[in-house]
């Protein structure tokens, strides 16, 4: 990994954050964003620790603490179904089931083709369009079963809901 293009982009991110260990969370978020499978591997965690000159245990602790940092490979689209209060009042459970059925996976799993990861996630502030899902960095709301099918069809066809 030392001389790869990927390592180069990690170096750039670390440099952007002044090689400053206190910026660890920001560095991890940006590195993950640059990683196709949207996760921080052990190897990458160690690499970052070494670059910042801090113990790798410190890096792994932060990685495991924050929900936004993944420790295993994820799909191209990470679908987070909100399971908090306003989405509950508007039937998130039914919507979650539709996603599971359409994708043929359970919450927490990734489709075999690596396209989709499905999970429950706490409120992300889209309660006014509940039930809502977060897909990578965008949000889709007022979901109905028909809307979910259409949404997934679009994403599978390479549509732009990123």
């Amino acid at each position: 990994m030392e001389n790869s293009q990927y390592a180069e982009s990690i170096n750039n991110i670390i440099e952007f954050y002044d090689n400053e260990p206190s910026n660890l969370l920001q560095i991890l978020l940006k590195v993950q964003d640059k990683t196709p499978a949207k996760f921080i591997s052990k190897e990458v965690g160690n690499y970052i620790a070494q670059k910042l000159n801090i113990p790798s245990s410190k890096v792994s602790e932060v990685i495991s603490y924050f929900d936004a940092i993944n420790t295993s490979p994820k799909g191209r689209y990470i679908i987070g179904v909100c399971n908090s209060t306003a989405c509950f009042a508007n039937g998130y459970e039914k919507i979650g089931k539709v996603f599971e059925n359409e994708l043929g996976i359970k919450m927490g799993q990734t489709t075999e083709d690596g396209m989709f990861t499905l999970k429950y996630t706490p409120c992300f502030g889209a309660c006014d369009i509940a039930p809502a899902v977060r897909i990578n960095n965008s949000v889709v709301g007022n979901l109905t079963p028909a809307k979910v099918s259409k949404l997934l069809k679009n994403l599978k066809g390479g549509g732009s809901n990123e």
Partner: protein
């Protein structure tokens, strides 16, 4: 008492991310006024407005600014604008960031000036990543106009501001946890004392202040304390941003006068009063109150009377199709998921409470589960941070207002 326009007065009349348009509607007049009248008078004005922190803890903002000013420190002094907005059902800070980012920044600079701070962060939750670039752009525009950096508007005051992204942790909305995460650690609260105000970020004096609170400060300076207190009621002047969601046809963010009745709030959002079973007010850690109490005025004291609080300004409306026990199980799932595990009452209590809620939900609970429920909820009071301690509220209020719903889930009762 109804909708109002003080914080949001100019919203919609200018392009939110155009600094020139913001200036054309009087933007940065508040900052200029604060800088010219001095920090003492500015803190006095904030105190006179009766403004209380809008992040959930209701601490008087004027007092907080004065304490920030007098905190002993020998190096940097920080302001952390809290845009972590993690309480389920809350999205008013998102609204303020989207529609009034320059007003937020202006308020942060004024707060920083009052606190004698030289560095600030706006801590925006990771879930709002889609806004991060725009916020950073806005910050850069303010630098260009001389509103940030050295010698701000030729006043001699220096202040730097940066965005810091959260990492998807609700607990990082708590002051110490936020400091820890900015220091590159996992975001767990520290025990008090010392307090964040004296010994916060990198052990320096730190003012943690909510996004709405700074938005109010900006317009308090731009307009006047008199105008602000002309809204609301005598024991609770001013206006409040609320997020209304749930079973209503017109959910959204509203600015309301304090003293508006809960009933009116529900109707404002298109809810049908006859259909309402309960409301949860103030976020996941807020009270669950019965529809019989909808005449209560939305004020700090009015909410206290129904065992509730203003909290984060969230109002989740639930109609008769929603089972209150299942709802409470959703609340518990949230706290169980978010507990940082640092202290025993919260870590263990939530593990047990979560099991009890599952049994209640599936009608497999025994009478003993109810006794343990009460015991655990009381024990959570000994938690280290506000999360464990305020989490009690929905459980106590639901138990009080919906006893029969609990009983109907118990075997053999």
């Amino acid at each position: 008492m109804s909708k109002a326009n003080f914080i949001t007065k100019e919203f919609g009349s200018y392009k939110p991310y155009s600094i020139n348009e913001y200036i054309s509607v009087g933007g940065f007049k508040g900052l200029k006024k604060a800088l010219s009248q001095g920090y003492e008078k500015t803190i006095e004005d904030v105190s006179a407005s009766g403004l209380q922190g809008r992040g959930g803890a209701n601490y008087p903002t004027g007092k907080k600014l004065a304490q920030a000013r007098s905190a002993k420190g020998y190096g940097n002094r920080y302001v952390l604008c809290n845009a972590d907005e993690g309480e389920p059902g809350t999205f008013k800070d998102k609204y303020l960031l989207l529609n009034g980012i320059y007003q937020v920044i202006e308020g942060i600079i004024i707060a920083g000036y009052c606190a004698g701070a030289n560095k600030g962060y706006i801590y925006v939750r990771e879930e709002y990543t889609f806004m991060h670039k725009d916020i950073e752009y806005a910050i850069s525009q303010v630098y260009k106009k001389g509103g940030l950096g050295e010698n701000i508007l030729n006043s001699g005051f220096n202040f730097d501001l940066k965005l810091f992204s959260g990492g998807g942790s609700y607990i990082c909305g708590e002051g110490f946890a936020m400091c820890e995460s900015i220091e590159g650690k996992s975001g767990r609260p520290r025990s008090k004392p010392p307090y964040v105000k004296e010994c916060g970020l990198f052990n320096d004096p730190t003012l943690v202040i909510n996004t709405e609170t700074v938005s109010v400060i900006a317009n308090l300076m731009k307009y006047s304390v008199e105008e602000f207190v002309s809204y609301g009621v005598e024991d609770c002047p001013g206006t409040k941003m609320i997020s209304v969601s749930g079973n209503v046809s017109n959910p959204g963010v509203f600015e309301v006068e304090f003293g508006t009745s809960l009933k009116k709030i529900v109707q404002m959002a298109g809810g049908n009063i006859e259909d309402v079973k309960f409301l949860q007010i103030g976020g996941a850690s807020g009270a669950i109150i019965s529809s019989k109490l909808l005449n209560a005025p939305y004020t700090y004291s009015g909410m206290k009377k129904v065992m509730g609080s203003i909290g984060s300004g969230a109002v989740v409306v639930c109609d008769k199709t929603v089972d209150v026990i299942e709802y409470l199980a959703v609340v518990e799932e949230f706290f169980h998921h978010e507990s940082c595990g640092k202290c025993v009452p919260c870590r263990e209590g939530n593990r047990q409470l979560s099991l009890i809620m599952q049994r209640l939900k599936t009608k497999k609970a025994k009478i003993n589960d109810l006794r343990n429920y009460v015991k655990i909820v009381n024990a959570l009071d000994a938690s280290l941070c506000g999360s464990g301690r305020t989490q009690i509220v929905p459980f106590v209020t639901a138990y009080r207002y919906f006893m029969n719903d609990f009983k109907s889930k118990i075997q053999g009762v």
